[in-house]
Symmetry: C2
Subunit: 163 residues, 2 copies
């Protein structure tokens, strides 16, 4: 049953990506296409992330620092969405964090050939938004980027914006 | 944790509906707007339903008749998506089925005032597609419609198309 539970989110995510890209393809300004799609998907992830973390932290004690928040995000938040924790969290202790997921759910359906590496970014935008939205709701503004080196492993880099 | 699990799908669904409608609003042909949005959402649900039921029935025995398939859809399929079963299944034994969900997850976030009844159809299209896609993958072509009388209760009518 669990496998189908995860599948719901994965299938739905694939539909969103396909729809957003298809919709753009019918518009005129092809040059801006890629940027717009990524930002649309990132925005959707942002709002879903905000809503989710609000529910998750409703009965939570307050966090003692930024690292504490990041750990919560890597464990509870990530597990709720992807049914596994982030495998590795690193920080330079100056506001930059690298979150590594060795088997990222939204990439496992793509083949691992080299040609698919180019396709990968469009499947990461929504999740970058999820992280940014979650952090934002806990009072941390950030810039989140992602990179894939060896499929289906994925690294998210979070840079906290000090006000 | 469960509450946040369900929330992921609900938030994501809200995002999809909002996005599809917003996108249409920027186009020219306003008259066709409503029809196109409903059919876009229905199509997304159809493909998600197909994928899900394929996973769910991978290790299942074959079904003995249409009613058997409908029961599976009301129990296993519905629970996987909405974390509850269909509350009531009726049939005229001539290919028409009425599935009633007394607390339909995708309507619980809407207020229950009368003005929201008009808004309800756009939150039902995806789920009509889910049912049609699931049945299609099990060899049953159907027409699926939905109606809300008292929020958040919802009835789905399935008419099997005999070839």
């Amino acid at each position: 049953m669990n496998m189908a539970d995860d599948a719901l989110f994965e299938f739905l995510h694939m539909e969103i990506v396909a729809h957003v890209y298809k919709e753009q393809a019918t518009r005129e300004d092809i040059d801006k296409e890629r940027v717009t799609c990524v930002s649309t998907l990132e925005g959707m992830g942002f709002r879903v992330g905000q809503g989710l973390i609000e529910r998750l932290t409703k009965d939570c004690p307050t966090f003692k620092d930024d690292l504490d928040i990041m750990k919560f995000l890597c464990k509870d938040f990530w597990s709720t969405i992807f049914k596994k924790q982030i495998d590795n969290l690193r920080t330079n202790h100056q506001g930059t964090y690298v979150l590594q997921d060795n088997k990222f759910a939204l990439l496992t359906q793509l083949s691992s050939g080299k040609q698919y590496l180019e396709e990968a970014p469009k499947y990461l935008a929504f999740s970058c938004g999820l992280i940014r939205g979650g952090l934002s709701n806990l009072g941390l503004e950030s810039v989140v980027t992602a990179e894939v080196s060896l499929m289906p492993s994925c690294k998210f880099q979070v840079v906290i914006q000090k006000l």
